[in-house]
């Protein structure tokens, strides 16, 4: 079940669905119309824009064309940032999993005998959602800044040379991404673990499985769905994020990710074709990952 965090663990008792009805059409049409108007056509707009060529007469204007060259150009120009985005996002996803899994396990299994503590712990995990994403990230920036508490300690023990800062490095960007997306990793895993039958763990124990064996052969396979959706939920926004990596936040010119490039090209340079081509390449890359996921878990459980 993809995105288990949002669909919770309700075992769907699909009622016997009725046959075609005008009511179904009435219920669906407005929403579907909305999605076509504001999701499908924008994608088509992006495709059209990505193929535009510079207007030969008006500088800064673009005309519709079949200018495939745009794709070649952006790959050549921004390949480095694209690879970096994938790398940063993958590392952030890995770290989020390393922190999020034990956290989800603690809340979903260790705290199960104490429902009140469990709810409280869950509130703590989603608490970051209730404070502005930008301010949270800025808080880390200030904590890491040269005036902040950590730099002082690090430079006094010699890890950080004089004048060196933690902000603006790959470390701080990956750190920020990890921090910001931990809840997205934790919640889906929690959702699978919270409904896991504890008797299975006891059985593993009774069959002389060591805790490690039980974990590897029972717990992990049973939470695989949560890990998969958590990974997607973390990787997708992390790969496209441009807050953490931007210069005003945790990044620098050396940490530019693909999101920053798209933003700059679209909003600052107004090079719409380049921004569109990059957006579509990013989306294609994500879609391949999603397709692999769907292939593994089946389309029926998409939502």
């Amino acid at each position: 079940m993809a995105f288990t965090a949002f669909s919770s663990s309700t075992a769907a008792v699909e009622p016997v669905a009725r046959r075609k009805s005008p009511i179904a059409l009435f219920l669906l049409l407005p929403g579907i119309f909305y999605l076509i108007l504001f999701f499908v056509t924008p994608l088509i707009s992006l495709i059209i824009t990505s193929l535009q060529a510079p207007d030969p007469l008006l500088f800064g204007q673009y005309v519709n064309a079949f200018n495939w060259q745009n794709y070649v150009t952006v790959i050549e120009t921004y390949g480095e940032q694209a690879v970096r985005s994938a790398g940063y996002a993958a590392l952030a996803t890995l770290f989020a999993l390393l922190i999020g899994f034990p956290l989800a396990y603690f809340i979903g299994i260790t705290l199960r005998p104490y429902p009140l503590l469990q709810s409280l712990a869950l509130v703590l995990v989603i608490a970051p959602f209730f404070i502005s994403f930008l301010l949270r990230t800025l808080a880390w920036k200030q904590i890491f800044s040269t005036e902040g508490p950590i730099s002082g300690i690090l430079s006094s023990i010699g890890i950080l040379g004089p004048g060196e800062a933690i902000t603006g490095t790959a470390f701080s960007v990956i750190f920020g991404l990890t921090y910001n997306f931990i809840p997205f990793m934790t919640l889906p895993i929690y959702a699978t673990l919270v409904s896991l039958d504890l008797r299975l763990l006891e059985a593993g124990n009774d069959l002389y499985g060591s805790p490690a064996t039980t974990f590897r052969t029972v717990t992990l396979p049973l939470s695989a769905a949560g890990v998969m959706s958590g990974t997607l939920l973390t990787f997708i926004p992390a790969a496209g994020d441009y807050i953490n990596a931007s210069r005003e936040f945790l990044g620098s010119a050396d940490t530019t990710m693909i999101g920053n490039v798209i933003e700059t090209n679209f909003l600052v340079l107004q090079n719409f074709p380049a921004a569109a081509a990059l957006s579509l390449l990013l989306m294609a890359f994500i879609l391949v990952l999603v397709a692999l996921y769907v292939k593994r878990s089946g389309t029926e459980e998409l939502l």
Binding site: P42, L138, Q142
Partner: protein
């Protein structure tokens, strides 16, 4: 450990809303309540906050209405393009925000629609819609259709059955979806930034201010929102716990 890690920036943001800072709000320079009383003196902060609330409310209403209708149709009816519909709802969730933002901006550009609060609302409704469908769908799927049949057997017309039986049972799911939508909309920066034109929302205000140090007023507003949200969630959790205990006693 992980909990502390998650809470550090929150504590930091709240603490700095009490910072006695005149211009920048980077270095701690003493405790004061003043920022809390003078929040709206820097008018742009409160204007941005107001815009965010307005956008959040309208987008939530739109997304919740459209999304609930789709969720009902998906669970209750079999129709020809059911799988295609599911895919159409799933895809916006798997599309990076930059792509959604840039796509909509390209669309508005080509259609000659001026960007502003209106386009932000349209954009937010789009990305909230899928989350509403997913949340409400889970609730619809767990409903017992026999209850509605009973309503029909008692000569309730479809409208009565919907408003007296289906809707009240769906309400917890709809409320959850609406809260999620509002939170997503209120905190969104990326999609907003592509489609906002000259209008400022709270996150875009913070982003612009970040270059020269955040004014403490921004911390005040963020902290107030945080306390309100936490209070709401705690109340919801506690009422749910109390109800469970009552049910356990009764059963």
């Amino acid at each position: 450990m992980a909990f502390i890690f998650l809470l550090i920036p929150i504590a930091y943001t709240i603490a700095f809303s009490f910072n006695d800072s005149r211009r920048t709000n980077i270095i701690w320079s003493g405790f004061t309540f003043e920022n809390w009383f003078t929040v709206c003196e820097a008018q742009t902060v409160c204007q941005a906050f107001g815009n965010s609330v307005l956008i959040g409310v309208v987008a939530t209403l739109l997304a919740t209405t459209l999304g609930t209708m789709i969720a009902l149709a998906l669970v209750r009816y079999r129709f020809r393009f059911r799988n295609a519909t599911t895919l159409l709802i799933f895809l916006p969730m798997t599309t990076p925000e930059v792509v959604l933002g840039a796509g909509l901006a390209a669309q508005f550009l080509q259609a000659g629609v001026p960007k502003g609060i209106g386009t932000i609302i349209l954009a937010h409704t789009l990305f909230c819609l899928s989350f509403v469908v997913v949340t409400v769908r889970a609730r619809v799927a767990s409903l017992d259709p026999a209850l509605e049949e009973a309503g029909r057997d008692l000569y309730g017309n479809p409208t009565q059955v919907f408003w007296r039986i289906t809707f009240p049972m769906l309400l917890p799911g709809i409320v959850a979806a609406a809260l999620l939508s509002f939170a997503l909309s209120f905190d969104d920066f990326i999609i907003t930034n592509f489609n906002r034109g000259a209008d400022v929302t709270f996150p875009s205000y913070v982003y612009t201010a970040a270059a020269r140090g955040i004014p403490a007023e921004a911390n005040v507003i963020a902290s107030a929102v945080f306390f309100l949200a936490i209070a709401l969630v705690l109340i919801a959790q506690l009422t749910a716990a109390a109800r469970r205990r009552q049910l356990a006693k009764a059963g």
